[in-house]
Symmetry: D2
Subunit: 363 residues, 4 copies
C-alpha cells in the first residue's frame, strides 16, 4: 500500500491537505448492521476540534463530517463508508512566506527531498489537520467496540515537566487538558500561560487504555497487537515514543517484579499492559505516547532555503503551543482502529475456537 | 496478511517453532544482482547465537542457514530467497511439565485463548528462537543497504539499572554485551553473575542507529518511517517500548530546545532521530527499545492451569537471564528490513524526482 | 484489504452507492509532478456517461468530478488524490418495489445473504454506477502512462452475435458503440433497436490494447501482469470471461503455431498478447473480456422474495439494454490501473537493472 | 507484496526454482485444530507428479513434501505451515546451451529484461515446477473446505480440438487425462501419440467446480470472488483465458436466456457460474481455463540471443507435450486457495450476520 491506508480487514484510507478543498476518508470492512449517523462521529471530532480553549490554535474549523456512503436507513451495510470534511478556514496568504524555506522540526525539508514539490500551505499533507479523519474513522470503530463491551479512553499523563496522576475518568472531559486529575488543572493553565508569554512550546505524554478487550486479539509474529499499536500511535504527528504497559521502566525491573502472576482470582498486576506474546491477555491494554513540543513557535530559529542559503524562520499563524493537548482523542481513535482490525482478523481465522479455561479479571 | 509477513515491496515471511523440525523464511523483493552467500547470513546469525558466553542460554544451536532459492551463480536473481535453519538441539522432554499450565509473563495463556491449542515445547511459535530468521533475512537487507552507503548498527545502552554510554562502535563486538564502552564490561559481568545467584532476570535497553540514509524514505501518513520502525522493533519478543530520537525526553523539552535547526553546514542537533513528518531527513536514524526481563526464571511464581486451578511455576531449562543481551543483532535486522522496504517503495513512486537542494550533513 | 482497494504501490480505494449522496475515491501512490486537472478526468467520464445515445440508459448524471486533494498548483504532489462525484439524479421511489425481492442475475440475493441487509436503491453498491470512479482514477493512470509512451485503448469487438472487426482507432470515438469499424454501425443500431422492441438485452465483447509498454512489467509468481489484468477486468460488473492474446483459441493451437518467434526485426506474431511468464514482452498487451447481457429487462422473470416465496419480477427503470456498450472506457481504465501499479512496482525492485539486449518491435 | 504471495487472511508465499536445491512455501492463516499430515498433501502432489504416464515429462521427481512447522501432535496450531520439497532430479547440464538465448514463448526474454539476469536451468523460477507448491498448499485448503462441506474438483474439458463432455467425477482419476468421459480416453491417447510423432504440442481446457460453497463469499468491489478466481487461475503457467459460468458464451446470449431464475425449489440454471455481483450464490462455482500448447518442442524455431543475433532453437530435454494434462490438480488448488481465503475474510467481517431467507439449491 502507499502509506495512506491502515488496517488489514478493517481499513481506513485517508486523503486531504490542511488548506485544500477537503479532507476525505474511506472506512472499509465495517460489519453491517451498526447504527451510525454523522452525530456519532461529530461527538469525537468536537473533542479534538481547534479553538475550544485559549490553550489551542484559534483556527476556526467546524469540522463538520458528512457520511457519503456505506450507511442506509441509519445502519451500516458492510459497504465502504465515505467520509468528507470540507476545509472552511483556509488562510493561504499566511503561508506564501515559507514557500521556499524549511521550518525547523517540520516536514518541509523531508517532503521537499522526497517529492521534489510540496503544498506549503499550512504544512499541506503533513499538517496535523489530517488527524481529524483519524478521529472520525476511529469513532466508527469505538462505537462498534463499545457494543462488544470494549471501551477505549485516554488522558494526558504529563504536560512538559508536570506529571498528571490518574484520578478518575469522569474528570477527563471537564477540562481542556484531558487531565484525569481536576486538582491539577490550575497548575496546567498557569504553565501554559507562561509558555505563551515565553513564545515557546512544550511536549506531552498521553496514556490510552482499552478495557473489556477479550483475550486472543493480535497476530504473531510481526502483526502483534502491541506492534501494530506502536505503528498506529507512532504514526500520529509529533509522536516520538510508544510504551506498552511498564514500557521503558521494564529495563530496570527484575523478572520477579515484572512478571504478572496469575491466580484464580485474576492477574496480580499488569506490567505487560494487557499484551503477552503480541496477543491480548484480557487485562486492560495500556499504552503511553510521547509527543514532542510544537515546532511552530514565534521565537526565531535558524534554517536554510531551497537553495541552501541560511534564513531566519519565525512561524507566524495560529498554532497549538502544545500539540499534545488535542492528541488524546486522536490516540483513542488509533487504538480503536487497531483493536477493531484485530477483532475482525481474529474472528476470520479462529471463529471456531472454543476454550473452557476461565478468562481472568485484573485484580 | 496473517501476521507472519513484514514489508510491502521487500517482504519477509517467517515460519517455524522452537522445537519443530526447522525455521524457514522467504525473503521476497530483493533486487537482482546482489552478491550473496550463506556466509553473509551466517555472520549475523553467529552474533545472535546462543551459548556464546556464560551470560546467555547454554542451548547449543549451530543455527546453520541454507539458501534454498533466489540466488544463482552467487548473485540474487530477483526471485524470492528461501531460507532454512534446522533445529538440532531439541530437548522436548524438558517441556511436558508445562503442557497444561501457563507460565507468567509468557504467551502460554494468550496463545491458549486465541488458538485453543499450542505447541508448548519451549514456547513453540512464541519462542525468541524465531528471531534467528529475522537476523538471517535482515543480513540480506543490511548487505544491500551497505552497498548503498547505509550502515545499520546497534549497541546495548542500558542493562538493568546500569547506563552504558556510547564510546565507540569498535568496542561493541569485543564483548558479550554489545557494550560500546569497554570499561563498563567488568561491571556488567559482575551484575549478571549476581543476577544468576539471585535466580532472577533483568531488562535492557538497546539503541540502533542507521547512518547514510538518504532523505526521502518513509510514506506518510500511516506508513511513516518511524511508525514502521516502531512496528518492526515492537514486534521483537520482550520489547515493551520504542523511542525515536529524543523519545520520551521530548515530553519535557521546550520547542526552542527540541527543534533541530538547519544551517548550510548541517543540522545543529538530532532530537528528531533522523525522521521528520515520517520521512528520513538524511541525519542518522536513531531508535531505542526497551526489553523486559526474561520471564523464564527459576524463582517460583504463582499461576493457574488450563482448568483455572492455582499452580506454582518454576521455569527450568536453559534461559537467558537477560534476553536483551542477544537482542542487538535482532534490532539491527528489523531496522534494516524497514529501511530496505522503504528504499524500494520510495524508488517505485518517486524514481523521477530530482532536487537541487543540498543534503545537509549532521554537525 | 477489504475488497474496495486495488493495487500495491499505485492504489485506488472506492466507495459510494448508486443512490447515495456521492461516489468517492482515493488514488494513492501517484508520482509527484504530473500535470492534472478535473478536466483530464472529465474527458474519460464523459465517454462513459449515461444518456449519450438512445442505446444507453436515459438516467441523467453529469458525473462532474471534483479533485479534493493531492494536486497543488496544477500538479500532483505525491499525496493521495481524493475524488468526489455527487449523485444528482436519484429516483429512489422507483426502487421500493424491489425492497424485499431478489432480481434474477443481480446481486440482490448474494448481498442479502452476505450482509443480511442491502441498499436496494438501484442496486446500491453493486450498481455499475460505481465504475464512474474507476474511470476517473483510470484517467490519472492513463495520463501518466501516456507521458511514458504507453497508450491504453479499447473497442467493442462483438455485440451479441455480431462480430466487429478492427479497422481503425480513429473510428472508435465517432460512434456510440466504440466500434473500430464505422461500416458496422448501422447494423449495430438496427440490432439494438430490435432488441429494445423485444424487451430484451444482450452481451458484448470488448478488446483492450496497451501499446508502448516496456518489457519487464509484472511480478511472478502470483502477481503476474496477466493475472492482475484478469483480476482487474473480471472485477468489472457483468464480466464473465477474460482472455490474454489468443486466449481460448490457444486450446486448439499447436505449439508450432502458437509460439511467437523472435527475429532481429521483431516478434513474428503476438499470440501471447504481450505477456510471457507473467511479464510484459514489449509487444502490445491485448486482452478481451466477455460481458453478460443486462440483467435488468422488462420481460417478466421468476424469482423469490426474502421469505422464499415465489414472485414475478419486472425490472422497470432506466437501464442499458447492453451494458457492454459503455464498458470500453471502464476496461481501458482497469488496464491502465494495473499497468501503472506494475510500472511503479517494477521500478521499486529493479531500478538498477541495465540491459544491452535490444527491445524487439512487433512485426 | 512482491508477487510470490497470494491471499489476504489465508496466504501462501512460495519460493524455489526448477533446478535449485528445493521448493519452499509458507501457508499462513490456517485455522487451528485441523488434522494434517504430509500424506494429506502427498495425495494431491502425486496426482500432479511428472512421469506418471507416457503422455507427460519423464523427469523423475518423487516430490516428497515435508511439513516444517505449524502442525503439532497431528493438528494445525494456527501458526504458519512451512512446506519443503527437495529437488532431486536436476540435470543442469541439459540447460547450458540456452544460457544466452531466448526460447520462443518462454519467459527467458522477459525475465532477462526485467531482472538483467536469470536462472536459465529449466526455466528457473518461471518453470511450472513451482506449481508443486501450489498443489501442496491447496491440499491444506481443500481438506479444510471439505470439512465445511465444500468440494473442489476439476477435469479436462478439451484437449486440442477434442471436446470432452462431462460424464462422471468417478471417471476423472482413472485416466492420465483427468477426462470425465472414460469413452474418450482412447481417442485422447491416439491424439497424443500422433502429436509426439509430429514433434509438436497442443493446448487444453480445464474446468474446475466447487460444490457446497455457501452464499456470501467474495468481497465487492475489486476483490470479487470471480475476480480473485480469475487472478489465481490466470497465474498458473500457460493459462491464457479464464471464464466463469457461461463465460464468453454470454456475449451472444439474450438477457432472458442468461439470467438464472430463482424459484422456491432452486435456481433454474447456472449461467452465472455461482457468482453474482462478485459474491457466491450457493450454486456450484464453475470456472474454465485455457492453457496454451507447451512452448518446449523439438521442432526448430527462430529466436535471438542476448546480443540480438538470430539463432535457431530446438528445446531438448523432457517436456509435457500438453501442459494442460497435469494442470487439473493445480487449477483445483488455486480455486481452493481463493475460496479458503474468502471464507475467512467473510467470517471476519460478517460473523454476526443471521439470515432467515432459505439458501436455494441448484435444480
Amino acid at each position: 500500500m502507499s502509506g495512506n491506508t491502515i488496517g488489514t480487514l478493517f481499513t481506513v484510507t485517508s486523503a486531504g491537505e490542511s488548506h485544500g478543498p477537503a479532507l476525505v476518508a474511506i472506512v472499509d470492512g465495517c460489519p453491517p448492521g451498526l447504527e451510525l449517523s454523522a452525530d456519532d462521529l461529530q461527538r469525537d471530532l468536537d473533542r479534538r476540534k481547534p479553538g475550544t480553549s485559549r490553550h489551542t490554535t484559534q483556527r476556526q474549523e467546524p469540522d463538520e463530517v458528512e457520511i457519503l456512503s456505506g450507511v442506509f436507513e441509519g445502519r451500516t451495510t458492510g459497504s465502504p463508508i465515505g467520509l468528507l470534511i470540507r476545509n472552511t478556514d483556509q488562510k493561504s496568504k499566511d503561508y506564501s512566506a515559507i514557500k521556499d524555506l524549511f521550518r525547523p522540526a517540520h516536514a518541509d525539508y523531508t517532503y521537499h527531498h522526497k517529492y521534489g514539490t510540496r503544498d506549503y500551505r499550512g504544512g499541506g499533507r503533513s499538517s496535523a489537520r489530517e488527524t481529524a479523519m483519524r478521529v472520525a474513522a476511529g469513532a466508527i470503530a469505538r462505537k462498534y467496540l463499545a457494543q462488544q463491551g470494549i471501551q477505549v479512553r485516554g488522558y494526558m499523563s504529563q504536560l512538559g515537566p508536570i506529571d498528571i496522576p490518574f484520578v478518575s475518568w469522569d474528570a477527563v472531559h471537564d477540562n481542556a487538558f484531558f487531565s484525569a486529575d481536576p486538582s491539577k488543572v490550575p497548575e496546567l493553565e498557569a504553565y501554559m500561560d507562561q509558555l505563551r508569554r515565553d513564545q515557546d512550546s512544550v511536549g506531552a505524554r498521553i496514556t490510552v487504555v482499552a478495557e473489556g478487550v477479550p483475550p486472543g486479539l493480535g497476530e504473531p509474529i510481526f502483526d502483534r497487537l502491541d506492534a501494530e499499536l506502536a505503528y498506529a500511535l507512532m504514526s500520529i504527528n509529533a509522536v516520538k515514543g510508544v510504551e506498552i504497559g511498564a514500557g521503558f521502566a521494564s529495563v530496570a525491573q527484575r523478572g520477579t517484579e515484572h512478571r504478572d502472576e496469575l491466580t484464580p482470582a485474576g492477574f496480580t498486576s499488569n506490567n505487560a499492559g494487557g499484551v503477552l506474546g503480541g496477543i491480548s491477555s484480557g487485562q486492560p491494554i495500556v499504552a503511553h505516547i510521547a509527543l514532542k513540543p510544537t515546532s511552530s513557535i514565534t521565537t526565531p530559529g535558524r534554517s536554510i532555503d531551497v537553495h541552501g542559503q541560511p534564513v531566519e524562520v519565525i512561524t507566524k499563524g495560529r498554532h497549538d503551543p502544545c500539540v499534545g493537548i488535542r492528541a488524546t482523542p486522536i490516540a483513542e481513535a488509533m487504538m480503536a482502529l487497531v483493536l477493531m482490525d484485530h477483532l475482525l482478523r481474529h474472528r476470520g481465522q479462529n471463529a471456531e475456537v472454543r476454550v473452557d479455561t476461565p478468562v481472568l479479571p485484573q485484580l
